[in-house]
């Protein structure tokens, strides 16, 4: 019989070890899964985790790492703050889409104006769009007590349909021969989010992600507001006693994570994606939830976890091309990763003892 004995403090060693264990367990289980499906497990794991960085086509895939990691890290940084406070924004995907739409709207409205301030304005619009979309569940929770989990999630489906409507309707490219989708912002110099250093994949979103990691680290470990957020997450009454207003906290966390997700959407639509289509949402908002947990809700952890999950995206695509693995493999991997992490997490909070039978 196994007995769980709670630890007085979460074990630091296990805090770091469990994500690593979760990744390894995912690789092993994933390999088994591939073997069952008739693929060579070793080749598949190598294709997903190794080849994107060091394989034969690495020069193409390596820049993709930053491109995919930036939105994940940007979104997860915001989400992690809310998760720490026990505020569950799981609708980042929707905020991402709306941020992309509002940011693109600025560019499309001003087209073909060329000005240095256009791109910064788009960033602001992206931030504002994501913020506003995140404030909907915040206000509904503060005013009426509606669950932010369900409302923010419902708003993902709404945002997806808004994006489809925009792509087919108001934002459709007038010179696009009737095809759905907006003008390509990459071909609009003032609005484009270009690769800043050739061959790295680094665009403004990467810069923003780096800043977000730094800023959230300062907030969570040095600022009293971060302290209040952490207190509210583990002991809400104590936080209230300290003087934290629960409603302000809800608005802050959902607004901030919404704004960061919105910015991520803008950087994507003005850069790698290039245009507004009905497929604006690619699941970054959901994957970022996994990034946040895998990174232990800690800025540095999120940085590493974001890079790792970006790797699985690229590796998954590669495996799809070279081994014709199903596209959903990545999703399964990501889900598995979160499962294993949550499972192994028991080791950080409890000591495992064997019960002695008397």
């Amino acid at each position: 019989m196994i007995l769980l004995v709670p630890r007085q403090t979460a074990s630091n060693g296990w805090q770091i070890a469990t994500p690593v264990m979760a990744v390894l367990a995912t690789m092993v289980t994933g390999g088994l899964l591939f073997a069952i499906m008739g693929y060579d497990p070793v080749a598949a794991i190598r294709t997903i985790f190794w080849d994107p960085l060091f394989g034969p086509a690495a020069s193409y895939s390596r820049p993709q790492l930053l491109i995919k990691a930036a939105p994940l890290i940007l979104i997860a940084s915001g989400l992690a703050i809310g998760f720490r406070a026990g505020i569950w924004n799981i609708g980042a995907e929707g905020q991402y889409i709306i941020g992309a739409l509002t940011g693109a709207a600025v560019a499309l409205a001003l087209y073909p104006l060329e000005a240095w301030w256009l791109f910064p304005l788009m960033v602001l619009a992206g931030l504002a769009g994501g913020w506003a979309w995140g404030m909907i569940p915040a206000m509904l929770r503060n005013w009426f007590g509606a669950s932010e989990i369900l409302v923010s999630l419902m708003l993902v489906y709404v945002a997806q349909r808004v994006a489809a409507w925009m792509a087919f309707g108001p934002m459709r490219n007038p010179e696009g021969m009737g095809f759905p989708g907006s003008r390509n912002l990459q071909q609009y110099p003032s609005a484009a989010n270009p690769e800043l250093i050739a061959g790295t994949g680094a665009h403004w979103g990467v810069v923003a992600a780096a800043l977000a990691v730094l800023a959230t680290w300062v907030l969570m470990s040095r600022h009293i507001r971060g302290f209040h957020i952490r207190a509210a997450g583990t002991a809400p009454r104590a936080a209230r006693f300290a003087g934290v207003s629960p409603t302000t906290l809800v608005a802050f966390c959902l607004g901030l994570s919404g704004a960061l997700a919105g910015a991520a959407g803008l950087f994507e639509v003005a850069g790698p994606a290039g245009q507004v289509t009905d497929k604006l949402g690619t699941g970054y908002g959901f994957t970022a939830i996994i990034v946040a947990f895998l990174g232990r809700l800690h800025p540095v952890g999120i940085l590493l976890a974001g890079l790792l999950l970006a790797l699985t995206y690229i590796g998954g695509e590669l495996a799809q091309l070279t081994m014709s693995l199903p596209a959903a493999t990545v999703q399964v991997f990501q889900g598995m990763l979160l499962f294993f992490l949550l499972g192994f997490d028991v080791l950080t909070r409890f000591r495992i003892r064997r019960r002695l039978r008397a």
């Binding site: 419902m154 708003l155 709404v158």
Partner: protein
Amino acid sequence: MMIDPLSVFLLLISASTPILFAALGELVAERAGVLNLGVEGMMITGALAGFAAAYATGNPFLGFLVAALAGAVISMLFAGLTQLFLANQVASGLALTLFGLGLAAMFGKPFEGVKAPPMPTGPLRINWIVWLGLIMVPLIWAFLNRSRAGLILRGVGENHEAAHALGYNVRLTRTAAIAFGGAMAGVGGAYISIATVLQWTEGMTAGAGWIALAIVVFSKWTAPGVLAGAWLFGGVTVLQLRLQAAGVAVPVQLLSMAPYLATILVLVIISARQKYSRRAGGGSPGSLGTNFHALR
């Protein structure tokens, strides 16, 4: 537009069936104190497993049986995490949803583009699964309110410390409730693939699991309330489809938002009434969403 009230009603109860099943299952889980956000993942698992079984055997009912099993089996991942490893229920539920969606997408590829075997209709032009869903409402009500097992389940959900102190097995009760929730979600998902859409497409549950979660809140944690909520959403869906078919001058994409917006609206109204009403009771189970750990 010609509207035959009876056929609209039949469409409505058919459209509400997936959500009815999933929400009834989640109702039982939540009454036991478990918040399982993995409903969407369990539904899509059921949708694929049920469809695959129905397609392979040609028997839709066998499909539903397999869907129930598949839903229950995958829900055990959640049960293991939350009941054995005491992981956070919100995160574990999300993980189940993400994993289920991925798994179904991965194994669903071979089933794309094939057709489900026909569902035989039951009495009154209503198929048997819809009947089953309707019968489950009074059954679950009676289980919760009139049976000893239901009383214990509610006790566990209301105050797990007290239930433990009286000698009831909190973990076992909750695991059983989670499995039941998984089976019901599986059947609900399979209804979409086998009886409504008649084929398998990736992500076909399209948020139905989340709407089911909202309906449990709407129901104030009662079985008749779940039925009312499911019918309300069936109504919104049918109306929205009717308007689309009638070619109303509103973009299709905006019309198709209706169920989600309605969910938010209903959540807001119900939450506000709970927040501002002075009356005790009728709220969520006392231990909902919290894990139980007994030091022995």
